[in-house]
Subunit: 346 residues, 2 copies
């Protein structure tokens, strides 16, 4: 994959609109945490990290499907784009020293090197495709294990820096659009119930972020005491239940207040295609309204893919990259409005 | 004029967009109050009113340019439309018994019979055209005086039911769109100053109504102690000063925050052409935003006339008339959105 595409491509695994339940599930992600036996588990130790980075780069150099990039080749803005595309975590992008990333051509695999763990293997897909992703991820894990010596303990499984990742080192997460559950005020209760069965719910940008645009990240909280397959199946089941609840809520809204939903969706379209200035926060909310209307068949001549792309384009760094310059908040709000118009009317 | 046109025509003197300063002045109106010497000045006395109505109907029957209608031939909704078109006052439309209206073909003359006074002669025009209207009104007054015996007193001039109309019986009023003065928070001060020089400021539907859509009716408060020409010249001068202030405020906004104004105007356009439900109150505000943007050259392919028509169509009775049925508030909000789309995209 060319660096340029990695940074500039507007398509992302989470804008495709394919896979299962694309009206509700934007994307699936599976992440494995792995560490090298022969190094300290401390990625903030400079010498140690240098060694980890070199070892991994060298060991993977003959894996054709993966390309290695040292994070230091990216400037601040470019690293922020990688975060916005969910290819790296905010923490990984923060300080690039002795950090790396291994990606495949399609952007559906991204391995962070020297994030909290030595390796964080991530596989992405559009829609609800956890089982496929698990298959892909485990193959990749096996391939890497042939070349690297992963720290493993009979009792605890794969050893990780943070104990919450111990065991399988597995994090399964799904990005869902749940506007109808929000509108029918069911989210609080449902999400509280989920936390009781070991499922974490976060906003679009991970821990501690708000559910902007009614987007929710659903993931397993612990990775110990269950097999990988059980964890994947468990999250899959819960997501399917949520899909079902969201579908029922959408049907309810359609029957009960279809016209209001249509009005909101069409107003959102009217504003998104006419405004001269749109803040990121407002954009998330408008796109959510438009997306709900679209999935209920109320918006003609518009596919779900460009709507998903708008979510990506809400974000500040990506906007600046495609504009080719750093911008103030107001300049971004203007550029955002300009690009939204283009995308929705193309 | 056909009754059908009188009621159903979407064009009104105040939607034309012609005359002087049409960007700021929607319409001008001159009204003369006259009473018949031989009758009581009490239009609520049934026998008396009957006599007044018959006398005026008979006396004007051979004036070719005017057509007489007994208000009782109109149903409630139709009378409300006449109010919304400003052809009759809300009070005149309230109870039609023994009340009448004389109108010309163009809808630019409307004489209310048995409103508060026996006759209220009204001449309308688009833009700031007070001098022309005064000419027209005075000719009409002379014509009527040849056929009717107006109560007149050497000391007080024309006698009227309410003492505030004594003397000339003249009310000169101008409907202005003053969004920039409102946005720059100058209206309160300016309007307070105006009241000190004998000028009244009201909302679009007369006394006690809010300035919906930033529309203001400017008129003289007293009609005694000045000649008609002085009153007309005085209001004309004050309106011109307001036009000047509004123009300066628009220039200021254009320079200071042109993009915000354009954003508001284009969002208004986006909502007005896409929404499924629009309340009357929201409509007034959106049309005001759109109109301001249009007059500042920010809205392409749209004339001022259809925008003015929208103001007329904000109103509940008119909407129901063109829909051919009585409607609930929600049905009206839906119909309004439908018609707005049609008008703006035709």
């Amino acid at each position: 994959m060319l660096i340029k595409n990695l940074i500039e491509d507007t398509h992302s695994f989470w804008t495709e609109g394919s896979g299962n339940f694309p009206e509700i599930v934007l994307s699936s992600r599976i992440r494995l945490a792995r560490n090298l036996e022969e190094f300290l588990f401390n990625t903030s130790n400079k010498e140690n990290s240098k060694g980890v980075l070199k070892t991994i780069k060298d060991a993977t150099s003959n894996i054709e499907s993966l390309e290695f990039f040292n994070l230091e080749i990216f400037n601040d803005l470019e690293r922020k784009v990688l975060v916005e595309k969910h290819l790296i975590s905010p923490g990984h992008g923060h300080n690039p020293q002795n950090k790396g990333i291994l990606v495949n051509k399609e952007g559906s695999v991204s391995i962070m090197v020297n994030e909290e763990d030595h390796l964080r293997i991530q596989c992405f897909g559009s829609g609800l495709v956890l089982k496929d992703l698990w298959q892909k991820c485990t193959e990749l894990d096996d391939l890497l294990e042939e070349k690297l010596n992963f720290a493993f303990n009979e009792k605890y499984g794969y050893l990780t820096t943070c104990p919450t990742n111990l065991g399988t080192g597995l994090r399964v997460s799904v990005m869902m659009h749940l506007p109808a559950l929000v509108l029918t005020r069911q989210t609080n209760l449902i999400l509280r119930q989920l936390s009781q069965v070991g499922v974490a719910v976060r906003g679009i940008f991970g821990e501690g972020t708000e559910a902007l645009g009614n987007l929710f990240q659903i993931s397993n909280q612990i990775s110990l005491g269950q097999s990988e397959e059980e964890i994947v199946a468990n999250v899959n089941l819960i997501v399917k239940r949520l899909v079902d609840q969201e579908q029922k809520a959408r049907e309810y809204l359609l029957n009960k207040s279809g016209l209001l939903i249509e009005d909101k969706a069409k107003r959102a379209y009217g504003i998104l295609t006419n405004a001269k200035i749109i803040s990121s926060e407002e954009a998330f909310s408008l796109i959510s309204d438009l997306r709900l209307g679209k999935t209920l068949g109320m918006v003609e001549n518009l596919e779900i893919k460009p709507i998903n792309e708008l979510f990506l384009l809400c974000q500040p760094a990506y906007l600046q990259i495609i504009s080719g310059k750093e911008m103030t908040a107001q300049e971004r709000d203007i550029k955002r409005a300009e690009i939204f118009k283009e995308i929705l009317q193309r």
